[in-house]
């Protein structure tokens, strides 16, 4: 592939193209909201994906304590769970978040990087079911739990 034809955004990839999580995360975190948040690739496996959200002053929700706002946590989990779907079906399928529920166990410790682990536990032709946790160092002591669904908008998962 020539330099000129290299995709600049995840969504420049044709639907159904082979999903490479590390490469896709690089594309996703270069622009837009994910880029501004500073999201980074952390790890992945079949059906799961981890992204990192480094702490930053600009992302604070409680200035007195330095605790991160909940918005960046939702975005982290939206992106990590979204990519976990492609990490399960093995291809890039454009989709939209239908719903997302976030339970906040506790505030993330100021200064610590938050890791978002998304997992896709069921695929149908058009709906994917996801869950995940966010933690700031110890996966056994999560900051948040999430669950939700996505819908394929172009093509099908299966």
């Amino acid at each position: 592939m020539s330099d000129a034809a290299k995709p600049k955004s995840l969504h420049d990839l044709p639907p159904g193209s082979v999903f490479d999580p590390a490469r896709a995360a690089k594309l996703m975190t270069r622009h837009g909201h994910g880029g501004w948040l500073g999201l980074k690739y952390h790890d992945h496996g079949t059906g799961w994906m981890e992204l990192a959200l480094p702490w930053r002053e600009e992302l604070v929700g409680v200035p007195e304590t330095g605790v991160l706002a909940s918005g960046p946590i939702i975005s982290l989990m939206d992106n990590a769970t979204s990519m976990s779907v492609w990490a399960l079906c093995g291809k890039f399928v454009p989709h939209a978040t239908l719903d997302l529920r976030v339970d906040y166990m506790r505030a993330a410790v100021p200064g610590r990087t938050v890791i978002g682990r998304g997992e896709c536990y069921k695929l149908t032709r058009t709906i994917s079911f996801i869950r995940g946790i966010a933690h700031d160092g110890d996966p056994e002591d999560p900051v948040a739990h999430v669950t939700g669904t996505f819908m394929a908008t172009h093509g099908t998962y299966l």
């Binding site: 955004s9 501004w36 200035p63 909940s70 939702i74 454009p94 978040t97 719903d99 529920r101």
Partner: protein, 136 residues
């Protein structure tokens, strides 16, 4: 413009979220479309939309507490967000509505819309724990 619902945190101001106006004493938040708010090309990021609605929910609850003359510490318990339409490249508004605020916990709904108020792009329902600031 009064500062009903208190000031917004760094996260909100960095995204350009601001108080646009008041409706029945509740703050209507607004944010311009920008690269920082974008998910897939040309569309609002779902997380950014959720962040906006959470800010609106908290601002509405603070306004309600102010009206009651109470100062409470707010701690989010959970949020459920429904995405109904893709957000496009225009101003997005959000308004919270306090469904129930007791002594210990509050349930607040929030809605986000763009050019057509009757066609919300997303809904959020948030549960928030209340505790007195003096720690009684």
């Amino acid at each position: 413009m009064s500062t009903i619902g208190s000031t917004l945190p760094p996260y909100a101001t960095a995204l350009g979220i601001h108080i646009d106006r008041e409706e029945d004493g509740m703050p209507v938040l607004a944010v311009d479309f920008s690269d920082r708010m974008m998910g897939r090309p040309g569309f609002l990021h779902g997380g950014a939309m959720s962040g906006l609605m959470e800010m609106a929910a908290v601002a509405a609850l603070r306004a309600e507490m102010e009206r009651r003359g109470e100062t409470m510490r707010l701690k989010p318990v959970n949020v459920q967000v429904e995405f109904m339409r893709g957000g496009t490249q225009q101003v997005t508004y959000a308004l919270g509505n306090v469904t129930r605020a007791g002594r210990r916990v509050a349930l607040v709904n929030a809605e986000a819309w763009q050019d057509d108020r009757k066609k919300p792009i997303a809904l959020a329902q948030m549960k928030i724990l209340l505790s007195p600031v003096d720690g009684e």
